[in-house]
Amino acid sequence: MFISKIMSRNAVTIDINADISQAREIMSENNFRHLPVVDDSNFLIGIVTDRDIRSVLPSSHITGDNGMEVLKRFSGIKIKDIMTKNPVALSPLDTLQDALILLQKERFGAFPVIDEQKKLIGIVSVRDLLREFINVLGLEEPGTLLCIIVENKLGQMKKIVDAITEEHVSFGSVLVSRYWEKGKRAVFPYLLTQNIAPVKRKLKKMGYTLLDPMDWYMDHLPQND
């Protein structure tokens, strides 16, 4: 899944010499929290966030002013004074996985997307990434999730897939993941069926451990791992 498919094209941008009240207006009109800053040739030079703006304004609770008056007094502040220069950007050929890992590392809410010449071609937000992740996991597709614990050795998946296929059940997706016990793996088939009981019975008969749904996998993952 490439970023070019996930990003919004025609990102709304702001000029480097605009002042912060303009940026605030654009953000609230469009319900955006990130504006890429570009020059006349659409080269990316920075990014400004609603947080950058708020951090240069005094709290209206302290001054007793209303928002507009405060903005007026601080309207001399230009975007170039508060923006993040050379922001972390993605390429259209970066992947969803790249973006998710980068997101966790950099703690940004959105990434500009640039081409090889560093011209801005789009923007991708956390929401865009989550939407795609939900899509990849098939969370909105009807089905039933199973959790099977297997020995971490070659050929386990084949047996599981064969057993489920023999029950004439189709796969929506399969996730194979770490388990908290050494030498074991957790397999999560998401099956396109309501009729899960025969599959469960068969797998148990084959000697597999089905994870109790309440003994949820995530609770057992080692911290900070």
């Binding site: 009807p142 089905g143 039933t144 004439h168 309501q194 009729n195 749904p213």
Partner: protein, 316 residues
């Protein structure tokens, strides 16, 4: 004693899902047998199936979908729209007979010939969407009944209570922007059960915000949890809505012995839920209560569950 109807017809057995399918004709036989052996048949008005007029199906499903379904059944296909949905040549007609029988039951209630009714029909309905079959369901029986009540009988507010262990995605989606139909569902949490919808934050759309309510229950829970939520939540929420008629999507698959779910309701637990719903109908809906079979796959338990269910209607 109430005037209670029982919709049952052997033609509902003709929807053949093949060997080893849980939604089997045996389910209905077990239900009928259970009611019969409890000696309840003489107290009930037996309603026969009748083919529904397509115009009522079209209040809920797209014409294109209805046609696709008919063609699929006629073509010898063995499934329709989703791998689980086993069909045969008779499935389309059987689904029409289910809807028609339910609409007749509604008519008997609205003309005061009956107080309440249990519709033991196949195929079930609550997973069926506007233009998609899912989870053994083809026509959304309860949804069509709700629209029929509104259009033909001028009912303003319909309450639907769905205690099948699976979320009724179809019914919810069909009415999520409609404030005149309240959809209330109790089901196994969607992360742990088919079809994966019915989360707490799904509360309706647009004008219908507030008339959809989902109560997901975690695996391993049973009578205590259900009883609590019925008293704490279902009763006050439905009382506030004050439905003129209550429809029940009656699924018996939350029973501890039913292996379609990880919910552990006992037979008594089921009775307590239904008693409470019947009491709500008495308070707000002049006793008008139409219960329609959805899931429930444990052939050993279905007889007692159905007999108790009908007994509660008789003594409501």
């Amino acid at each position: 004693m109430k005037k209670t109807g029982l919709l049952y017809d052997e033609r509902y057995l003709r929807h053949d899902t093949g060997p080893n399918h849980p939604e089997s004709p045996q389910r209905l036989k077990a239900i009928y047998q259970g009611i019969k052996e409890a000696g309840l048949l003489p107290k009930l008005t037996l309603i026969q199936a009748r083919r529904a007029d397509l115009k009522w199906i079209e209040t809920i499903h797209s014409k294109n979908y209805i046609k696709r379904f008919e063609v699929a059944c006629g073509s010898g296909n063995s499934t329709f729209d989703y791998p689980d949905n086993q069909i045969c040549a008779e499935t389309f007609e059987t689904a029409l007979l289910a809807v028609g029988g339910i609409l007749d039951a509604v008519q008997l209630i609205m003309t005061d010939k009956l107080d309440n009714v249990f519709c033991a029909v196949r195929p079930p309905g609550h997973h069926a969407e506007y233009d998609k079959a899912l989870g053994f369901c083809y026509f959304n029986n309860v949804a069509i009944a709700a629209r029929y009540l509104q259009i033909e009988w001028g009912i303003q507010r319909v309450g639907i209570v769905d205690f099948d262990v699976h979320h009724g995605n179809g019914t919810q989606h069909l009415f999520e922007d409609d404030p005149t139909v309240f959809y209330y569902s109790i089901h196994q949490h969607p992360t742990f059960a088919f079809p994966g919808t019915g989360r707490v934050f799904e509360t309706g759309d647009g004008e219908g915000v507030g008339t959809t309510r989902n109560y997901p229950v975690l695996p391993g829970q049973g009578d205590k949890e259900y009883q609590g939520l019925v008293e704490r939540d279902l009763v006050p929420v439905l009382s506030a809505f004050s439905p003129e008629v209550i429809l029940v999507s009656a699924g018996f698959d939350a029973h501890v012995d039913d292996d379609m779910s990880d919910i552990n309701l006992s037979t008594q637990g089921y009775s307590r839920i239904m008693q409470r719903i019947a009491a709500l109908a008495a308070l707000y809906s002049d006793g008008r209560l139409i219960s329609v079979l959805e899931g429930g796959y444990c052939l050993k338990r279905l007889p007692e569950l159905a007999a108790n269910h009908v007994n509660i209607l008789l003594n409501a």
